[in-house]
């Protein structure tokens, strides 16, 4: 035992003690959340995703070169931590080094550590270059990030200096296993220090390294670097399937006195873990259509603001004095922030630590709508229409089937009466029923179904809005009213298979009706048409000599992972050329109509549909293909406002196929 032992005990004890105390507060803050958290099932899949994304850095590596830099730093730290552990242990009790693993293995360990120290330094070097020279907008300025980079870089420098002086002082000291440290030792040799000075400097830099590690331990709980502790568990606890449903509220439960989240503590503990995991990398906002058109919402700031709200209310939360917790809506998270979201889910797809942004926004909206009655004025009309006419637009429920009047399409009631064996139910949706532009899409799709010889029916006037707009806006009660009525109707006819041309209806019926007893096999018309083509039931034969670009609907793509079928449909058109916009597939940009935004005014910043149409126009395509009635409206409006309607047509994939096929 040397003087080092008591000193280390004292310093490390204080540092770990204080750090532990700070971590315990974070855990208590998390546990004090009152919102319900759904149980975490499928442990096997969770372990697999944690291995792939933590050890394998899969999601991080989606963006490069920074992903590679992060992977180098991450793996470097895993390896170097073994050395740091050895440092700690041997400082306490010198013989307790790791040499017991055998000379060769120990040399291998030293070699790895040396190489990874260089990797980390290189990674940090790139990170600094990116942060200070390239300066991506999403990264922004952050004192915290600068401190973390300084911490990390100085740790590596301390390791190299420690090893360098040790090599000089203790020669021989595994220098052949440490190429980088050896090179540094050669440079340090030029200083011509005595052996004992070199040894003392080696010990000095060991202490420098240990002090920085201990300082880091104290610093981490209040830093974005907290992700090194939280991101792993958060990855394990992530929402597994791409197709996720919004959490239902049980309105039968009379003990519930509040709907949605008014305060941070109304959210669940998993939400707090989300904030702890956030690295402020900005990938979420890089793709956010709201942020990219100057709306006040950025998913990154939303998470940071919620975290800061939680920290600001620390005392009240820890003492469980929930009355004293200040509201979520404040000068940072304004109502405009919450209403700007199109629920396109680009943020969640981009997030390397699997933060769920949309559920938080939905919960906050639910509170604004159902508890505070605060929502954009124009939404009142939408709710009223859905309540009285079961459609967001003010059209009579009795006119719902008018689009099909001359098409001799059976209603379910008629099909049941004459005992027709149906292949599929065609779910029309409100846009297909009432919007003249989208009626044409439905007529084209019905014509395709007929050409394929399929027996299908519609619900006719028995169909109601799925409730999706109400749900996304936050009116869960109205949603459930409509959803339950529809499920009752569908189940009464014993419907098994449904096809719809609306991705919003598709998502709702497929993923969200399950919670209310509606289990059906649901297809989007792109999937259905692709299958009819591949089965040879329809054959696009008429040449369509055009360049076509396809716009991904968020609720088809990001919410349901359907990217290839609509493209396959377009590719089946004779002599058609396909081009992609610069944002496509899961990196696609929303048209601006999701999350109920279809029925809201867009008063702040540039219009999202214009920004998207500009991307479409850049491709010089003559046809913008859509597979969603809302996208259709937004893109058509965008093309018109760019005065390009004479050169660029917006067409649904069903229309493209219908004009190219004959009976």
């Amino acid at each position: 035992m040397t003087w080092q032992t008591p000193l280390f005990l004292l310093v490390a004890g204080a540092a770990f003690g204080y750090s532990g105390y700070r971590f315990s507060i974070l855990v208590r803050l998390m546990k004090a959340h009152q919102g319900k958290v759904s149980p975490f099932e499928e442990i096997g899949a969770r372990i697999a995703t944690a291995i792939a994304n933590v050890l394998g850095q899969k999601a991080v590596l989606k963006k490069n070169p920074i992903g590679i830099a992060h992977t180098m730093i991450f793996w470097g730290f895993l390896v170097i931590t073994i050395g740091t552990l050895e440092q700690f242990v041997s400082t306490l009790y010198e013989p307790a080094n790791f040499e017991f693993i055998g000379q060769t293995a120990y040399m291998g360990l030293m070699f790895l550590q040396d190489i990874f120290t260089a990797f980390v330094l290189f990674g940090v070097g790139y990170a600094c270059y990116r942060r200070f020279i390239i300066r991506p907008e999403g990264v922004g300025k952050s004192r915290d990030a600068n401190i973390v980079l300084a911490f990390t870089a100085s740790l590596m420098v301390a390791i190299f200096l420690m090893n360098g002086f040790h090599i000089l002082g203790r020669d021989p000291f595994y220098q052949n296993a440490m190429p980088f440290s050896h090179a540094i030792a050669k440079m340090l040799g030029a200083l011509n220090f005595s052996e004992s000075t070199n040894l003392a400097l080696g010990t000095f830099f060991k202490w420098v390294h240990m002090f920085i590690v201990l300082g880091f331990a104290v610093y981490i709980p209040s830093s974005k670097h907290l992700h090194i502790v939280a991101a792993g568990p958060n990855t394990f606890l992530r929402t597994l399937p791409r197709e996720k449903a919004m959490k239902p509220i049980n309105f039968e439960d009379e003990s519930v006195t509040q709907y949605g989240a008014a305060k941070v503590t109304d959210l669940g503990w998993k939400d707090a873990l989300d904030y702890y995991s956030c690295t402020e990398c900005g990938r979420c906002q890089d793709l956010c259509p709201a942020h990219n058109t100057q709306k006040p919402l950025t998913p990154k700031m939303l998470i940071i603001d919620l975290k800061e709200n939680l920290y600001r209310n620390k005392q009240a939360v820890l003492n469980q004095k929930y009355d004293e917790v200040t509201p979520i809506i404040d000068e940072n998270v304004t109502e405009d922030v919450i209403w700007a979201c199109t629920s396109c889910r680009a943020c969640e797809i981009a997030c390397p630590v699997f933060i769920g942004h949309t559920d938080k926004i939905y919960d906050i909206r639910r509170n604004l709508v159902m508890m505070e009655s605060k929502f954009p004025a124009e939404v009142q009309t939408v709710f009223k229409n859905m309540e009285t006419n079961a459609s967001p637009w003010a059209f009579a429920a009795s006119d719902r089937a008018n689009w099909a009047q001359d098409l001799s399409i059976k209603t379910m009631a008629e099909a049941e009466a004459d005992k027709t064996n149906l292949d599929v139910l065609l779910w029309v949706g409100c846009a297909g029923s009432y919007d003249d532009r989208n009626k044409k899409v439905l007529r084209a799709f019905a014509s395709i179904l007929k050409k394929a010889g399929l027996k299908f029916a519609i619900l006719g006037n028995e169909e109601q809005c799925t409730g999706d707009p109400a749900r996304r806006i936050g009116n869960e009660y109205l949603y459930q009213t409509l959803a339950k009525t529809n499920i009752e109707t569908l189940n009464r006819y014993n419907v098994k298979k449904i096809v719809t041309a609306c991705p919003h209806c598709f998502n709702t019926i497929k993923n969200e009706y399950k919670d209310f007893g509606g289990n059906y096999e649901v297809f989007h018309h792109s999937q259905f048409i692709a299958r009819l083509i591949s089965e040879g039931k329809i054959k696009p034969s008429k040449s369509f000599d055009e360049t076509v670009t396809f716009h991904d609907s968020c609720y088809l793509g990001r919410w349901n992972n359907v990217y290839e079928e609509p493209r396959a449909v377009i590719a089946s058109l004779p002599s058609t050329r396909m081009v992609e916009m610069k944002s496509n597939h899961d990196q696609s940009m929303c048209c601006g109509a999701g999350g109920g935004r279809m029925w809201m005014e867009e008063k702040i910043g540039k219009r999202i549909n214009i920004a998207r149409v500009e991307q479409a126009l850049e491709t010089k395509a003559g046809v913008v293909a859509s597979s969603c009635p809302f996208c259709m409206t937004m893109l058509t409006d965008g093309v018109k406002s760019k005065d390009m309607q004479d050169k660029v047509r917006v067409l649904d994939i069903a229309e493209l196929i219908d004009q190219s096929t004959s009976r």
Partner: protein
């Protein structure tokens, strides 16, 4: 025959047409029709009320009434209704009427039928009809219990009577007691337009993106001024910055239901149709014969609006001269 009190509404020194509708309907039914004018420096308006059939006009003036406030109006109107023993109190279903009439009803402890489209005077009482379920059905409402019957009537629902210059009203100046007001209006900051609001006008002339610029809307404004119409716009025209948002007709703008709606260069996206499809007569002018607006229109012209607007304006002028 009933004792009717009509609350006159005015703005910028001019009485609103909807007030004449109420007075006309009441006096035509042979009622003892009183009108009350509230304001400061509004005595000159009393005479005009007489020409539409008001027997007596009570003029309540004072600095506290210079600007409209729900507090002062409801106090003065309820006091006057009590002292006159009015059996029926009518106001227009305008933002003002919707604001103060419920308070009058509360002060008097009686019922109020709002947004009425038909009135039937029956002795000292009335029966009214009011649309329900977005106009898909009409409810007939009668009053129960004692006390004055209160109703607000939708503008343009009754039809304005012709003024008769030979008729004159007895003008009675009253000293209003507004009590202690909790609020005071310091100033009214106006929007720019002198034309009627799209939701109140009986004729609305709307334009779309095809007008190509804010300046070209001048064409529609001139046309509107010949017939006292309001100028509306489609969402596309508003988005393009041709018109302010308050003029926007549609799902996310104003919902209008005028006697005549003229759509110039509006294709008729669902968003727009949702805001004007209940108009009595719809005229559409568009270059695209396939435009969905023609499905809804009673009269349609496939043609260039820039050529047609001046012609229509000339025709409007001729009709007005007759």
């Amino acid at each position: 025959m009933a004792k009717v009190l009509v609350v006159a509404e005015h703005r910028d020194g001019r009485l609103k047409k909807s007030t004449f509708e109420l007075i006309g309907a009441s006096s035509a039914a042979g009622n003892e029709t009183h009108a009350v004018l509230l304001g400061d420096g509004v005595a000159d308006l009393a005479k005009e009320l007489g020409t539409y059939g008001a027997g007596k006009v009570h003029v309540a003036q004072g600095p506290a009434l210079k600007f409209y406030t729900a507090e002062a109006y409801s106090k003065v109107v309820s006091d006057l209704a009590k002292s006159l023993g009015s059996e029926i109190v009518l106001a227009s279903h305008t933002p003002t009427g919707r604001d103060f009439m419920p308070r009058v009803a509360a002060k008097l402890g009686v019922g109020l039928a709002s947004d009425c489209t038909q009135l039937a005077f029956e002795g000292s009482s009335i029966k009214v009809r009011r649309p329900i379920y977005s106009g898909k059905a009409t409810a007939e409402v009668e009053f129960v219990g004692a006390g004055p019957r209160l109703a607000t009537v939708r503008p343009n629902a009754l039809g304005a009577p012709k003024a008769d210059a030979s008729k004159a009203a007895e003008v009675i100046n009253i000293t209003p007691d507004v009590g202690t007001l909790k609020t005071k209006v310091l100033e009214v900051v106006k929007g720019q337009s002198a034309r009627p609001d799209v939701t109140e006008a009986s004729i609305v002339i709307s334009g779309g993106r095809s007008l190509k610029s804010a300046e070209n809307f001048k064409l529609l404004e001139d046309l509107a001024d010949t017939v006292g119409a309001a100028v509306g716009a489609s969402r596309a025209a508003v988005d393009a910055g041709f018109r302010p948002h308050r003029d926007q007709v549609g799902q996310t703008g104003k919902v209008v239901s005028p006697s005549l709606y003229m759509a110039f260069g509006i294709s008729g996206a669902i968003q727009h149709l949702a805001g004007m499809r209940t108009s009595k007569t719809i005229v559409a002018i568009n270059t695209d014969a396939e435009a969905p607006i023609f499905q809804l229109a009673d009269y349609g012209v496939v043609g260039d609006l820039f050529a047609l607007v001046p012609l229509i304006k000339e025709e409007f002028k001729k009709i007005k001269e007759h």
